[in-house]
Structure formats: structure tokens, C-alpha cells
């Protein structure tokens, strides 16, 4: 089958339709960091691992401005 045949183009359109239809079904995961720092053991975890602390802080800073979902 030639790459520019109508059937192949149709398949690509269908794929694009699929991706379009699915795009609104994706979202960033909800991470509920509210008050988490008060929970037992969590402060030690965040002290132990700087990356986890940074992500926790970033999520709380951006809680009213969600990051743009990366569909990749």
C-alpha cells in the first residue's frame, strides 16, 4: 500500500479523532498535599529526600494554577 493512499490517510484521521476524543479524558493526577505536613512521619520523609520536598512545595504553590498537562 502506498503511503499516500486514501486508506492510510483515513487511518490517520481516525487516529487523530481518537486522540482528540481522548484528550479531555486525561488530567494531571490529583495530589492532595493539604495539611500533609502535619501528618505523622511525613515531615521526616520530606527532610530525608529533597526532591520529594521540592515537589510537595511546588504542588502546594501551584494548587490554584495547575500545571499544563503534558500529553506526551
Amino acid at each position: 500500500m502506498r503511503p499516500d493512499s486514501p486508506v492510510v490517510n483515513g487511518e490517520k484521521d481516525n487516529e487523530n479523532d481518537d486522540l482528540l476524543a481522548l484528550s479531555h479524558l486525561f488530567a494531571l493526577p490529583e495530589l492532595h498535599y493539604i495539611d500533609i505536613a502535619r501528618k505523622e512521619k511525613i515531615p521526616q520523609v520530606l527532610t530525608r529526600w529533597p526532591l520529594l520536598a521540592e515537589l510537595s512545595q511546588s504542588a502546594q504553590n501551584n494548587s490554584d494554577q495547575p500545571l499544563t498537562p503534558n500529553q506526551g
Binding site: V8, G10, E11, N14, E15, D18, L19, A21, L22, L25, F26, A27, L28, P29, E30, L31, H32, Y33, I36, K39, K41, I42, V45, R48, W49, L51, L52, L55, S56, S58, A59, L67, P69, N70, Q71, G72
Partner: protein, 238 residues
């Protein structure tokens, strides 16, 4: 007939092994199960003892102008599977099949109690086809830093459940990340799958873990996962 899509938050999370093991475990409890491979890697079939050299599968059949059903295989009386099939790389992205229509046909047969979808993370078009027909999604995670970063920046299917796989309780970091998720990540399943050599061996043995190693920790954990599915997902379908 609940349809569950299983997908990793990245590659290598063990989705195919868990799909095969869950399908087998549900079938063991007397339910009829169909497992469908949406990944061109075409590995699910090897968990069900299919010869490596066989090109058979739904995508292969579609590319050959035949019906997707031609790719179906039977493992035992309660467990059927639909391999993706072996296709050259250039053809793998050119497979289109109306899975909504296919699923309606599958449902209308009245044969299956469960349909499980082995869903790739690196093939957006094929993943979209799988996710569009799923009632429920399990996103598999390793309790590691990379999965944690991805949870902050990578879109996942809305209302996905999360399932921790290959957990290593001896790791301080894994313990800490699991604790953090248990406190902050909604819909994290209340059961986790531990790292178990039996699960790794199951692919080499070409059999689902529950069949190959019925006394293993993985087999017990798959029974817990199957029970969770039966309690929580049987009703309230899409």
C-alpha cells in the same frame, strides 16, 4: 462486563505480567476472561504459552484484510486472549480498528465476564483506542522517584486507579514514597504488589504467575487484586 485498561505511568512497570496474572486469577474463580494486547511489543501472548514465531494477532489480521477475531486464541475454557500480532515497525502505527464496535460485538456474545486491556504507554494512538473502550483504568507505578515526578507533570486517564507494583519493603525510599502516596494520592489501591521473583520467572516459564507458582506471594497478591476487582468493579459500569 467490566473492561479494565492497565497501563504503566512509564515503560517497565510490569503491566503485561500483571494483566496476564490478573486474567488467569479471575478465570480461576470461575469467571470468563478475555485479555487483549494493544501493544505492538506483542508480549502478552508469551505469558499464555504462544509460540514466539507465530505472527498471529488482531493487528496482523486487520492488516491482512481479515477480521480482528481471526487473531483470537484460547488458553483454557475460561480464558481467551487476543495477541497484537507480529508486524513490521512501519505497519504498527498504521493499524486502525473500530474497537468500540468490536467491544459491542464481544459484549453481545455474552461470553465474557471481564475484559482486560494491556495498554502501551509509548503508542498514543493504540493507547487511545484501548482507553476509549475501558470502564476502568489502572495506572501501574513503581514506588520510585521517577514515578513520583511523573505524577506531578504527566497527564493520566481521569479517575484512574493507581496500583503499586514490584514494591521492595527493604528500601527506605520506596517505603517513604508509598507513605507519601497513601496520604496524598486518591484512588491508590489499598493493596500493593511486592517484588517477587516468581513474577519475573512467569514470562520465562510462559505461564501466568498464579499457574506457575501457586504458593508464591505474587499469586496471593493477585488473588487479592482479583477480589478487589470483583467487589468494586463488577457493578457501576460505564
Amino acid at each position: 462486563m467490566p473492561v479494565i485498561a492497565l497501563q504503566g505511568i512509564r515503560g517497565g512497570c510490569g503491566v503485561t505480567s500483571v494483566t496476564a496474572a490478573l486474567a488467569w486469577t479471575l478465570a480461576q474463580s470461575g469467571e470468563k476472561v478475555l485479555a487483549i494486547d494493544f501493544s505492538p511489543a506483542n508480549l502478552l501472548r508469551l505469558h499464555f504459552n504462544m509460540p514466539y514465531d507465530s505472527p498471529r494477532g488482531w493487528a496482523t489480521a486487520v492488516r491482512a484484510g481479515e477480521g480482528w477475531e481471526q487473531g483470537a486464541m484460547r488458553y483454557h475454557s475460561h480464558l481467551d486472549f487476543l495477541p497484537f500480532g507480529q508486524l513490521p515497525a512501519i505497519e504498527q502505527t498504521q493499524v486502525y480498528c473500530d474497537w468500540q464496535d468490536n467491544l459491542t460485538k464481544i459484549d453481545n456474545t455474552g461470553v465474557y465476564d471481564w475484559v482486560l486491556l494491556d495498554t502501551p504507554i509509548d503508542q498514543p494512538a493504540l493507547a487511545a483506542q484501548a482507553l476509549s473502550i475501558a470502564d476502568h483504568t489502572f495506572t501501574l507505578l513503581h514506588a520510585d522517584s521517577q514515578s513520583h515526578v511523573r505524577l506531578h507533570q504527566q497527564a493520566v486517564p481521569v479517575e484512574s486507579h493507581y496500583l503499586v507494583n514490584q514494591f521492595m519493603p527493604g528500601s527506605q525510599l520506596q517505603q517513604d514514597i508509598l507513605l507519601l502516596w497513601q496520604q496524598s494520592l486518591p484512588r491508590l489501591l489499598p493493596l500493593i504488589l511486592h517484588r517477587d521473583e516468581a513474577m519475573a520467572e512467569s514470562l520465562a516459564a510462559k505461564r501466568p504467575v498464579g499457574e506457575m507458582a501457586p504458593l508464591s506471594k505474587s499469586c496471593q497478591e493477585m488473588q487479592a487484586l482479583a477480589s478487589w476487582c470483583q467487589i468494586h468493579l463488577r457493578v457501576g459500569q460505564k
